[in-house]
């Protein structure tokens, strides 16, 4: 019942977009947990942000333009985060000569 209601409000493509968004987010989670290369972990975080954007756009067809405004701000924050994060990775690389996340254990117990 609820599925039919959602499919009716969003259209089949909107529903597909929601499921693709969930799947892309889960793939991003796998990547973050599975990889040791800090840059690839970072790329998986970007993938998760993009998946969230996809669900926001799909819901904006149902609830109005605000979803797309949120996507705009998410993209701005993602750009800032990518710049600062890559600067941190460069600074860490200068110190350790490696970007392996398991080697950074200064704050780990």
């Amino acid at each position: 019942m609820s599925e039919a209601g959602l499919a009716g409000a969003l259209g089949l493509n909107g529903l597909i977009a929601l499921f693709v968004s969930a799947i892309l987010f889960s793939i991003g989670v796998i990547g973050v947990l599975l990889r040791r290369n800090a840059i690839i972990v970072f790329m998986c975080v970007e993938l998760m942000l993009n998946a969230a954007n996809l669900s926001l756009v799909a819901f904006s067809r149902m609830h109005g333009i605000e979803g797309q405004i949120f996507v705009f701000f998410v993209m701005a924050v993602a750009a800032a985060e990518a710049a600062v994060g890559l600067a941190i990775i460069i600074a860490i690389f200068r110190h350790y000569e490696v970007v392996d996340l398991d080697r950074f254990r200064l704050l780990k117990w």
């Binding site: 409000a9 259209g11 493509n13 977009a17 989670v29 599975l34 799909a58 904006s60 067809r61 609830h63």
Partner: protein, 175 residues
């Protein structure tokens, strides 16, 4: 008809590209496949009547951010495969189960969560009419510069802070 087919093709290629991207050992090919994923999601945005979002997704994500990643990979000379990159079977099991839990929660949320409140059917047609009336950019820009002006200004400050922080972090210290 052809639009539905294109949409589903974009969806399939996004998922496929993401899977390939996570499993590549070479970071440069991971970047290339992530660019492919961003292009596919841009196509999906286009089919969902979010034309402006589709454009800035290509320009900002597929262009600027991924070039930044590629630039850092080249700068640090990391463009080669590393056998230690992927975690072992235990890590794979933990990561896989956590991500399947995420998938289940999200699917449950998307399928079952919306009957808590009445679904307002504004749908794509209203967005399409507004875009035809005010232009594709205008339909996003008008609320952005009227209702969400303060948020926009705060975002500008955030970008400024991130510029300063980036320069401060990445600068080589001279004593």
């Amino acid at each position: 008809m052809i639009q539905d087919f294109l949409f589903q093709a974009f969806a399939a290629s996004a998922i496929l590209g993401a899977v390939i991207m996570v499993t590549r050992r070479n970071p440069v090919s991971a970047v290339i496949f992530l660019v492919g994923v961003f292009f596919a999601t841009s196509g999906m945005f286009l089919m969902l009547d979010a034309h402006y979002i589709a454009a800035i997704n290509v320009i900002l994500y597929g262009g600027a951010i991924m070039v930044l990643f590629l630039f850092v990979l080249m700068l640090l000379n990391l463009g080669h495969a590393d056998w230690r990159d992927l975690r072992g079977p235990v890590g794979g099991l933990i990561g896989g189960s956590i991500s399947i839990a995420f998938l289940g929660v999200l699917t449950r949320l998307f399928v079952g969560g919306t009957d808590a409140r009445p679904v307002v059917e504004i749908a794509g047609s209203a967005l399409r009419e507004a875009a035809a009336e005010q232009g594709v950019v205008g339909v996003v820009a008008r609320p952005l510069f009227t209702e969400y002006t303060i948020v926009l200004e705060v975002t500008g400050v955030l970008l400024l802070v991130s510029i300063v922080g980036t320069i401060l972090l990445a600068r080589r210290e001279r004593t």
